[in-house]
Symmetry: C2
Subunit: 397 residues, 2 copies
């Protein structure tokens, strides 16, 4: 059974889109921004609550951006009261805070606090999915230094150490090759100060895969299985469909749908998998929101992850997740310099047929910061990928 | 030679998109809104100046909306100074005002005041295009009541009377069947009070066509020739490609490109044509901005009229105007009731594959008011049109 609460959620059960309906985002970055753009297309208003300064992407596309702490229940409740529904753009808020805000304001939040509680902590996340029979990366909670030795003994070296909360893009986790490194990293991640740490077996994978699933309380929309290409723990490209056997893509989609049912929430969730060298598909992580792995869907699919997220949280019928062309490649455009942001387009970038540039409007460029992305559609995945790399390499941002 | 002025325009000659670049729209309705959405995708900020209340579509998607009169040069100059480039969303501002604002602020305006001056007045517009050898509807300026009789004598009854400025969607013009009606309408349109009135021969046309052309100062992008279907002087649907012979579509595109060269401005311009029962293509009107006839391009073309308009006014390379599928139909969603706006979606509307709903976010619905539009793509124009009608008829808005 999907969570629905409060009278406000009833507004949206009738397939009616009222003017002045407001979706509030907790977070004001590019994910909120790209979601907002799809809300705007449907005539829906968007507000944002952020703990950052006034140069976030949402600040320049919405007149309703509020600043406050993500632990300030009172301020978030006040924000929620001005909205008809809330949604998240990151996982750094405590589910207990979300629950209180939802109760106090009467405004439904998606992902639901109950669903979010199942994944906000990486240890609980793995247990939730494991209990539903979905294969996950072997893991163990590490309470003491001696657990490190045991884990290494059982699963071999190297392995991965992670904070159970708050990590992203390589922050909050590290691969350790021996006990000395493991002890050092355990301390660095705060393990000796009581922070929850988990160890994960090092997976010898050939591909990292991702599948987005949207749910509106009645039906599911499952996206194509895509392939995320990482460099230095940051996703640099997404190739759709993934270059793995069809049976593997179907298996990932099956696990993603099952995992979505575990969360029992409206909204869109991205599920990330390892496809191992021994042919297994293991669920690695989930993100209960539009996700970088799904940006390709803006032009690549009939209905983007962002639009289906908006539809889902409103309880509206979902749109088709079908691919528009047979191949779609998304390249993350990372900052190449530390400076006031700008993109110096090459002669090929903007005129390329079937190419689409997205810039997030961040004011400050930093080396490695996600500043925008570029999506290229075509018929053949390898040639589209090669062309997308060719067009975007050397761009100064 | 295309107009470019001032140091600000130089920013954009380098194919660089700087963060904090701001496009200002004169007008805050759905055309500014849909343009803003494409600007946002490129990380560009958008401001708007409007003479209307605070319930215009732009109010809820931009933090930078200013209210003032379109004849207040000082206020518009102040607005222009906060922007890097200005653009129009209607034709109700005097080109002399635009010229002063551009001179005083140093901010370029597209359409350029010089280009706009060639079409802001319907009589001058016809002369501009006629001088370039483009066939236009036969017309004459009507200064006195006796001119009405002469025009009827020369071109036959009925004919059409129009204000030379300010008309749209059937306002400011009328078809008159005899001298009595003509005299009455001449007075009603202000002809006896010195307002400029023109008479146009009544054209026995089989189709109304439209072509959008974008220009960035270097290159042109010409869109497919589409067909606008009118009812009570309001466009109710746009069918792309138009259901006329290929040679006719090519001729309309050729005239549109020639007419764009007459205006010599950056931006996008829509050109509307009559395809007559005798096989002629006559230029009827032009609109120097994104236009209702081009809304289909959002999903129908690789690069929409809105995105190419943004690229054009920035001097960035244009994108492909190619159709994504062979047939595309856009249905205008007009208000069906006078009430607080909402759309009651049918069971078929949102799930339809290849269908895309756009609502403008207007707060008040009025019978006949343009509240949104619906675009459906497919392979065959007749069946897509039939299906689009089927899906949208009976919608309560």
């Amino acid at each position: 059974m999907t969570d629905t609460i409060g009278p406000k959620s009833l507004i949206t059960e009738s397939q009616t889109i009222p003017a002045s309906f407001t979706i509030g985002f907790l977070g004001a970055g590019q994910l909120a921004k790209m979601s907002a753009i799809e809300a705007y297309r449907l005539g829906i208003q968007v507000a944002a609550y952020t703990d950052r300064n006034n140069h976030e992407p949402m600040h320049f596309i919405s007149p309703k951006v509020t600043t406050g702490s993500f632990s300030d229940v009172e301020a978030m409740t006040e924000f929620a009261r001005q909205c008809d529904v809330l949604s998240l753009e990151n996982e750094f808020i405590d589910s207990k805070v979300l629950k209180k805000v939802q109760e106090n304001s009467g405004t439904p939040i998606y992902p639901s606090p109950n669903g979010f509680a199942k994944i906000e902590n990486k240890i609980i996340e793995k247990q939730s999915f494991e209990n539903a029979g979905i294969p996950v990366t072997p893991y163990k909670q590490i309470n003491r230094e001696c657990d490190l030795k045991d884990f290494g003994h059982q699963y071999g070296w190297p392995f991965v150490l992670k904070s159970s909360k708050g990590g992203y893009d390589g922050y909050g986790n590290a691969t350790v090759s021996n006990l000395g490194e493991a002890v050092e990293m355990f301390t660095e991640l705060g393990g000796s100060d009581g922070h929850e740490i988990l160890a994960e077996a090092f997976i010898d994978f050939t591909h990292e895969l991702a599948v987005q699933v949207a749910h509106n309380g009645r039906e599911y929309s499952v996206y194509e299985c895509c392939e995320t290409v990482q460099s230095n723990h940051i996703c640099v490209a997404v190739v759709t469909p993934a270059r793995v056997p069809d049976s593997i893509k179907k298996l990932a989609q099956k696990y993603a749908l099952e995992a979505m049912k575990v969360l029992a929430t409206r909204g869109i969730v991205a599920f990330e998998f390892f496809y191992t060298s021994t042919g297994e598909v293991l669920l690695n992580e989930s993100a209960p929101r539009p996700h970088n792995s799904g940006h390709y869907s803006i032009e690549g699919c009939i209905t983007s992850q962002f639009e289906n997220h908006i539809r889902a949280v409103l309880g509206l019928d979902l749109g088709s997740s079908e691919l528009i062309q047979t191949a779609c490649v998304m390249i993350n455009l990372l900052g190449t310099q530390n400076r006031k942001a700008q993109i110096e387009c090459s002669d090929e970038l903007l005129p390329e047929p079937n190419g689409h540039l997205h810039m997030y409007g961040k004011i400050q460029s930093k080396i490695g910061r996600k500043m925008g992305h570029y999506t290229l559609l075509g018929d053949d995945v390898e040639s589209v990928y090669a062309r997308a790399i060719e067009i975007t390499q050397g761009l100064q941002i």
